[in-house]
């Protein structure tokens, strides 16, 4: 990216939360490679810093400050947000309970935004959200899901703590950005994969009781290779004149669930999978919902029709807005990205 096409200079300080995470460490790497050398990497005190340290070791001249802290602490947030020109907010709670997920997504984000607002020097809050915030309830199978689509309006019914928390987090970002005059951009990555993550995305299927149920069938999977994703986040985060915009991040040449699963099996130890068509699983989810209600939660409603639709109904996805407005294109096509990913799996499984 040319320097004139960035909202901040290479010496301006950038804060990255979740910087030791799967995507966060690649964002740090991309920033360093793009010439930004004044980084503040916020990490949990208990984090295993292996991923981040590997990235930092490759950039010995950079002024990188690794700051351990807790975003639930306003004091830590104030230290983290001090004198930063841009914040890449990737930290998120991934616990499976609603309260924990909300606390670690929403309350932390509020603390960070309030701290940033006090210093008044923030030029961009880059919020990394998720595809989990969308609802495809009113989109037909195979219909296009893009940035104009509706967000989930009944997240509690979906019984997905993460989706609930990410939705609330996004709303809070918009609300606080408007309240405090903070310029922001929201990025919604699809299913991010790459070296560092072994598990298949749920959009392909679920592994339960030792059996893998293939639920994606011929659906297109909204994959985003981690390096492509990190580059999109950095480009969109620093691009001028896109404040307040939302971008989906998915790669080109998206494979079908069936194709991706076949490749995955070939490059891992292999396992048996049972294909369940969407209509059948949707029916089972309906029954599960009914049973959950009748039995007063003997089985929690983790399988339900809204969640089933969100994950396995099957849609088409577009990265056109990201390409048009930000000028991003995936550095690694699916053939190369998947080769790197499966090589990693072969090495580690």
């Amino acid at each position: 990216m040319h320097e004139n096409h960035r909202i901040i200079g290479p010496d301006d300080r950038i804060l990255i939360t979740g910087s030791n995470g799967f995507i966060g460490s690649r964002v740090v790497d991309t920033l360093l490679r793009s010439g930004f050398s004044n980084l503040r990497c916020f990490v949990r005190p208990s984090s295993n810093l292996t991923a981040l340290q590997a990235v930092l070791a490759a950039a010995p001249g950079a002024r990188v400050e690794v700051m351990p802290g807790n975003l639930l602490s306003r004091e830590d947030c104030a230290k983290a947000a001090k004198d930063v020109a841009a914040i890449f907010h990737l930290a998120a709670g991934t616990t499976k309970n609603f309260a924990g997920s909300f606390l670690n997504c929403v309350v932390t984000t509020r603390n960070l935004m309030e701290a940033a607002a006090k210093f008044g020097c923030l030029q961009r809050f880059v919020h990394v959200s998720s595809f989990a915030v969308y609802s495809n309830w009113n989109i037909r199978r195979g219909g296009l899901l893009d940035e104009t689509c509706e967000l989930e309006s009944r997240p509690v019914e979906r019984a997905e703590a993460y989706a609930f928390a990410k939705l609330k987090q996004e709303r809070l970002v918009v609300e606080y950005a408007e309240k405090h005059g903070i310029p922001y951009v929201i990025l919604r990555p699809g299913a991010v994969y790459g070296p560092g993550v072994r598990d298949l995305t749920k959009r392909v299927g679920i592994d339960t009781f030792g059996v893998f149920f293939h639920l994606g069938g011929s659906n297109q999977i909204p994959l985003s290779y981690v390096d492509n994703c990190a580059e999109a986040i950095v480009l969109a985060g620093l691009k001028p004149e896109i404040d307040g915009e939302v971008f989906n991040i998915v790669d080109d040449d998206l494979p079908s669930s069936r194709k991706f699963l076949r490749k995955y099996k070939r490059h891992t130890k292999g396992f048996k999978s049972i294909y369940i068509p969407y209509w059948l699983f949707y029916g089972l989810c309906w029954l599960w919902e009914k049973y959950s209600k009748w039995s007063e939660g003997q089985f929690p409603p983790v399988f339900n029709r809204r969640r089933c639709a969100a994950l396995w109904k099957g849609n088409r996805y577009s990265n056109q807005k990201l390409k048009d407005r930000v000028g991003w294109k995936p550095k690694f096509p699916f053939s190369e990205a998947s080769r790197r990913y499966f090589e990693y799996l072969e090495r580690t499984i």
């Binding site: 949990r44 005190p45 208990s46 984090s47 807790n70 602490s73 616990t95 309970n97 609603f98 309260a99 924990g100 909300f102 606390l103 929403v106 309350v107 509020r110 509690v156 609930f164 609330k168 809070l172 009748w294 039995s295 007063e296 939660g297 003997q298």
Partner: protein
């Protein structure tokens, strides 16, 4: 209609709210958390009409009959006191209070004001615990327990709670006088406190940091505890372990005639016959008798499951229901006050001994792995 409020909107509040929703004749009228966003999210998810950040506002405006306190234990006493002063019945999550003095004060206040108070020892109301109690009342043990053995395992290796605790030097659990133990052992201690007699059982406690934690650089958290208790008649052992596998939640009790093994995780109650069999039959017959009992337990559990009577938090539902009945119908309290106080007293003595004991010589410390 019983008006219910919840103070503290974290993970445990969700469990309470779920159970309360299934109990007829009550309604959650307000939730409260010092962090407004947390109060707001719980109210939104459960369609609760009002949320607050101050307990007094909750009491004044939502006017609950009963308040569930699901905040960190350091605040149980002050919030409980405010609720009792305002004339509300109170359900306090475990551990009841930080120390015995606070527990005594709350109970005296409840008695003085003719209000009801209970603590969230819900494992006391699981199917297995209730079956065990029936057998004890029927006299299966042949008299009062002679000895009890309570195991409470806790898996520290994984889980969000453990990660949060290890990663945060200022985590509220670390700030408790008894640390991790204080937040976890009351379930296991209450199992034996129910059957010990007298107010002041003799307690000998020994605790240490497991090799697992020491290898992670943790030196403050005691996650292994062994306790001996004696009330003058009966004795009890209590084991809390983060490392022992299987992660037992078990009570073994032995009377003058027979014994019982109650497993909370498996929801089984096994009768252990005291009288021996003749000769080699002692080696041949009991395994069949136990096999038959285990099959019976399994079938019984399946029957309850099919009748939708086997929820993961069934014990909590029964405890809450029984407590509400005590409020509305004047029935007896689900957990007697002397049992709550005995549990508090035993825990206080354990923590006092752990604090005052010097680190044992290196030769008795378990080897590093």
């Amino acid at each position: 209609m019983l008006r219910v409020a919840i103070v503290g909107c974290g993970k445990i509040a969700d469990l309470h709210a779920e159970q309360i929703q299934y109990i007829p004749g009550c309604q959650i009228v307000g939730v409260c958390d010092r962090e407004e966003l947390m109060a707001q999210q719980l109210a939104e998810r459960l369609n609760v009409p009002a949320h607050f950040t101050e307990v007094q506002d909750l009491l004044d405006h939502a006017k609950p009959d009963v308040v569930h306190i699901t905040t960190p234990p350091q605040t149980h006493h002050s919030i409980g006191k405010s609720c009792l002063e305002a004339g509300r019945h109170v359900y306090i999550e475990k551990p009841f209070t930080i120390d015995l003095e606070e527990a005594q004060e709350l109970i005296s206040m409840a008695e003085h004001k003719n209000l009801k108070l209970t603590v969230g020892h819900h494992y006391q109301f699981s199917h297995a615990a209730r079956r065990m109690r029936e057998l004890v009342v029927e006299g299966y043990l042949g008299g009062s327990p002679v000895h009890m053995d309570s195991y409470y395992g806790y898996d520290l290796g994984g889980g969000d709670y453990a990660r949060a605790l290890l990663g945060d030097r200022h985590h509220w659990v670390r700030m408790l006088p008894g640390g991790l133990l204080q937040n976890n052992i009351s379930h296991g201690i209450s199992k034996v406190a129910e059957f010990l007699k007298g107010d002041v059982p003799q307690v000998i406690a020994y605790g240490f940091t497991s090799p697992f934690l020491r290898n992670l650089g943790e030196t403050e958290i005691i996650d292994e505890l062994r306790v001996i208790m004696h009330d003058g008649t009966a004795t009890a052992y209590f084991t809390f372990s983060s490392q022992m596998r299987p992660c037992l939640h078990q009570l073994r009790m032995y009377g003058p005639r027979n014994g019982l093994i109650v497993d909370e995780r498996q929801q089984t109650v096994i009768k252990v016959k005291g009288a021996p069999y003749q000769s080699y039959l002692q080696q041949f017959v009991p395994p069949w008798v136990y096999a038959k009992q285990y099959i019976g337990n399994s079938l019984g559990n399946m029957r309850k499951f099919l009748k939708a009577d086997f929820q993961a938090d069934y014990g909590m539902k029964v405890l809450i229901q029984t407590f509400y009945r005590a409020i509305t119908d004047g029935g007896s309290l689900p957990i007697p006050y002397e049992e709550i106080l005995r549990t508090s007293r035993i825990m206080e003595e354990i923590f006092s001994q752990l604090r005052s004991s010097r680190p044992p010589p290196k030769s008795v410390l378990p080897p590093e792995t």
